[in-house]
């Protein structure tokens, strides 16, 4: 076994093949077979992810040349600690979402047929992006991800969902175009597309800067950074809960992931102090604006969706905190940023699942609909609460650990203004999260309208929330995983 892990072929392609196979099968098989296929596929993908983890533990970072064609001609997959973290995260969250969806979709018989293939495509696309080291391949991956996500949002065919998905699609398309143009410039000037190879030859030129700027713009649009965020809240709020969880938890992170690879890996020398500060400022603006808008929402899912805008803003603080701030501050910010991503992914997915359950249970999508929910204390409410703890960055949660690291980094690098952003952002998130909690304690006039959601719905939300919480206590391992991928500093 051990020798197979060290010497056997890498299992990376399976992480994409399996979801693709799943989608093919679920498109051709009948309705009755879907649960079986889904279970098998999720099981196999989880297994593959675990084996990939074991392989990585044995042999460390490695590349996988597809079709045995070497770079620059071919495309290669790249596995490092960061990619592995996201793979694990994706597998974990998506399988819980699958579990949730399996039960939840019984309410939506029509959407059910095409939900599974789209979900599988989405999964495949995410894995493609985490593993990809090729600029154009990332374009295809982004499109695959964007289309399947748009499809998932539109699945209910409701008016709101359609408007939201159209908005989402157009934003995604615009973002992809900007990315594609950047790729075109880079290929024209550099003659290659592999990120790691480009890192060696990337020079400070007009075309290089223009390409980076374009790609950054596209990615910012795709990750809904302020002020390009307006497409996100309706899309995430109007989708089915498992879809929202997936989108907010994982899909929105893909663009950020690429952004980091781009700047910190491909062109670290091109990131000037002011550019990094600008990115950070956008993040800060998102934190405030998203938080403020979340406070103003009356619909539960809209509130959660705006909170995503705010939380994604924190991620952008990674750039100012890693640019020219010294080794220790860079390390802290790097770990803090990715830990923030991880904990937000878990917490937000939990929160959307829980919110969906609560809406289902209470029969109303708005905040006053929650009146009296505290009486029944469904696990979903508990899940929502625990996820909220992580989002607020209160201990003991992953969110707290992440913010702690970011704060430390800011303090160490003397950029005290980010401390203010982090602290006041946390306060702002406390406001909107307690706004929800508070509703649950109000006694309702009609206590009997509560409808207990199925246990699996409740538990899937709770499980993710507990994971987000546990990340606060067990963050040493993820932290180590992240630290192995520190660009430049790993060696």
């Amino acid at each position: 076994m051990l020798s197979w892990l060290t010497e056997g072929p890498s299992l990376l392609p399976w992480l994409v093949i399996l979801p693709l196979l799943w989608s093919i099968l679920s498109l051709t098989a009948g309705q009755r077979l879907q649960p079986l296929i889904a279970t098998t596929a999720v099981g196999l993908i989880l297994l593959a992810t675990l084996l990939v983890l074991l392989q990585w533990l044995q042999r460390g970072d490695h590349f996988y040349s597809l079709g045995d064609w070497a770079v620059p001609l071919g495309i290669r997959l790249r596995l490092d600690g960061l990619a592995l973290l996201l793979l694990l995260l994706t597998s974990g969250i998506t399988s819980v979402c699958t579990l949730h969806a399996g039960r939840y979709l019984q309410e939506y018989p029509r959407a059910k047929t095409y939900f599974w293939p789209l979900l599988a495509f989405c999964w495949a696309a995410m894995n493609v992006i985490w593993l990809s080291a090729d600029l154009f391949n990332l374009y295809v991956g982004l499109e695959l991800l964007g289309f399947s996500a748009v499809g998932l949002v539109a699945l209910t065919g409701e008016k709101k969902a359609l408007a939201a998905s159209l908005r989402y699609l157009y934003a995604a398309l615009l973002g992809s175009l900007a990315w594609l143009l950047g790729v075109a410039l880079i290929y024209g000037h550099q003659g290659q597309l592999d990120i790691s190879s480009l890192a060696l030859t990337f020079t400070d030129s007009i075309s290089g800067q223009a390409a980076l700027a374009l790609m950054t713009l596209g990615l910012l649009l795709k990750m809904a950074a302020f002020p390009l965020h307006s497409w996100l809240p309706p899309a995430h709020a109007s989708a089915l809960p498992p879809v929202s969880a997936l989108l907010s938890g994982l899909v929105a992170k893909a663009a950020f992931y690429i952004l980091v690879r781009l700047w910190l890996e491909m062109a670290p020398d091109n990131l000037t102090f002011s550019a990094a500060q600008l990115l950070g400022a956008l993040g800060a603006a998102a934190v405030f604006w998203g938080g403020w808008m979340a406070c103003r929402q009356q619909q539960l899912k809209m509130l959660v969706a705006y909170s995503t805008v705010a939380q994604l803003g924190y991620l952008l603080l990674l750039f100012p905190l890693t640019t020219g701030t010294g080794e220790e501050a860079t390390r802290l910010a790097w770990e803090g940023g990715w830990l923030q991503l991880t904990s937000h992914a878990l917490a937000k997915a939990a929160m959307f699942l829980a919110a969906g359950n609560l809406v289902l249970a209470m029969g109303r999508p708005d905040l006053p609909g929650l009146h009296g929910a505290g009486r029944y204390l469904p696990f979903s409410l508990l899940g929502f609460g625990l996820a909220g703890v992580s989002l607020m960055g209160l201990p003991p949660s992953g969110g707290f650990m992440a913010k702690w690291l970011l704060l430390q980094s800011a303090l160490l690098s003397g950029q005290w203004w980010w401390i203010l952003v982090l602290l006041s952002g946390s306060a702002l998130s406390a406001v909107y999260i307690f706004k929800v909690y508070q509703q649950c304690y109000v006694e309702s006039d009609n206590p009997d309208r509560f409808r207990q959601p199925a246990l699996v719905l409740d538990l899937s939300a709770l499980a993710l929330a507990l994971l987000a919480l546990a990340l606060g206590i067990l963050s040493a391992w993820p932290q180590w995983l992240i630290s192995t991928a520190l660009p430049g500093g790993a060696a």
Binding site: P13, L20, G67, W69, L73, Y114, L118, L144, G188, A211
Partner: protein, 317 residues
């Protein structure tokens, strides 16, 4: 000279597309633009792209747009196509565009210093790829990963289309054009198109052409059939149709995994049989892609039928 002229025409036609008063005119201009693009690809010595652009970019996209247009009224009064809500936004957009234009100009005119000579690499390895035509080699050997995912992209679009199709109204109930002359013409045009498609598929391994172009021709054939009101073979077997839709991706995956299962790399073709494998993949792709492209057209939600106009209660005046 001709290049300058053509290059100058392109933005002008594009401007026409954007500024056309009527949407229909804009779409027609767009199709013309697509055909111009095909010419441009010829001038850029990319005949594959010319074929694809004409068939897919102009042809299929045009048909899709026209078809959609037929089902949409125009709530906006014609004229003022560039009407936007905020004048500020307009100014902002123009300033942004200007800035981007300058940057782009700078980037495009900068001297090129490629660090890698990829065409040389392609020429070096084409022998090993199993095909003689470089574009096909890139698509199905060197960067087969992209192509695989690209097929998935189309499939996603089709799946979304299927998911959003109205179940209650059968699209076939629509009035379709039919005439004896058309039927007669089709009866010898269709086989010809099939022949052309197969020819394109076959030629792809050593000259311009390949799965995508062939599929586009085949899809056009299917669209023609559909428009002429004929039943498609297998139309009443949804499972068969779906199998056809996923067949390309499935075959690609399976053949790509052959080496993987024997301990090799994913998407690596067996050394001696590379050409055959690629041809197999291409054949499967052609048929499947044809169905997919056709399904893009077909899967669109059927329109409201005559007498049942869409609810117009909240239509802005």
């Amino acid at each position: 000279m001709i290049d300058l002229l053509l290059a100058l025409t392109l933005p002008l036609v594009a401007l026409g597309v954007l500024l056309a008063r009527e949407l229909f005119r804009a779409v027609v201009m767009f199709i013309a633009f697509g055909l111009l693009m095909a010419l441009v690809w010829v001038r850029l010595q990319a005949p594959d792209l010319a074929l694809a652009e004409a068939a897919i970019g102009a042809g299929l996209t045009g048909v899709l747009l026209l078809d959609a247009l037929g089902h949409l009224r125009q709530p906006h009064p014609p004229g003022q196509p560039l009407r936007s809500l905020l004048p500020l936004l307009t100014i902002l957009a123009l300033v942004l565009a200007g800035a981007l234009g300058l940057v782009l100009l700078g980037a495009l005119l900068e001297p090129l210093q490629p660090s890698v000579n990829l065409p040389a690499e392609v020429a070096l390895h084409i022998e090993a790829s199993g095909v003689a035509h470089p574009v096909t080699a890139v698509l199905l050997a060197f960067r087969a990963w992209d192509t695989l995912l690209e097929v998935a992209v189309i499939l996603v679009a089709v799946v979304v289309g299927l998911a959003l199709r109205f179940s209650h109204d059968d699209a076939a109930a629509e009035s379709r054009v039919s005439s004896p002359l058309l039927q007669g013409m089709l009866s010898w045009l269709l086989p010809l198109m099939l022949l052309v498609a197969l020819y394109l598929l076959w030629i792809g391994s050593y000259r311009s052409g390949g799965a995508f172009q062939a599929a586009a021709v085949m899809a056009a054939m299917l669209v023609l059939l559909r428009l002429s009101g004929q039943q498609l073979p297998g139309q009443n077997h949804p499972l068969l149709l779906r199998a056809g839709l996923v067949g390309g991706l499935g075959t690609f995956l399976l053949l790509g995994s052959v080496q993987l299962l024997q301990g090799g790399a994913f998407l690596a073709w067996p050394e001696q049989l590379a050409g055959a494998f690629i041809l197999l993949v291409e054949t499967a792709l052609t048929f499947s892609l044809a169905l997919l492209l056709y399904a893009l057209f077909e899967a669109s939600p059927a329109p409201a039928r005559k007498g049942h106009p869409p609810r117009t209660g909240d239509q802005p005046s």
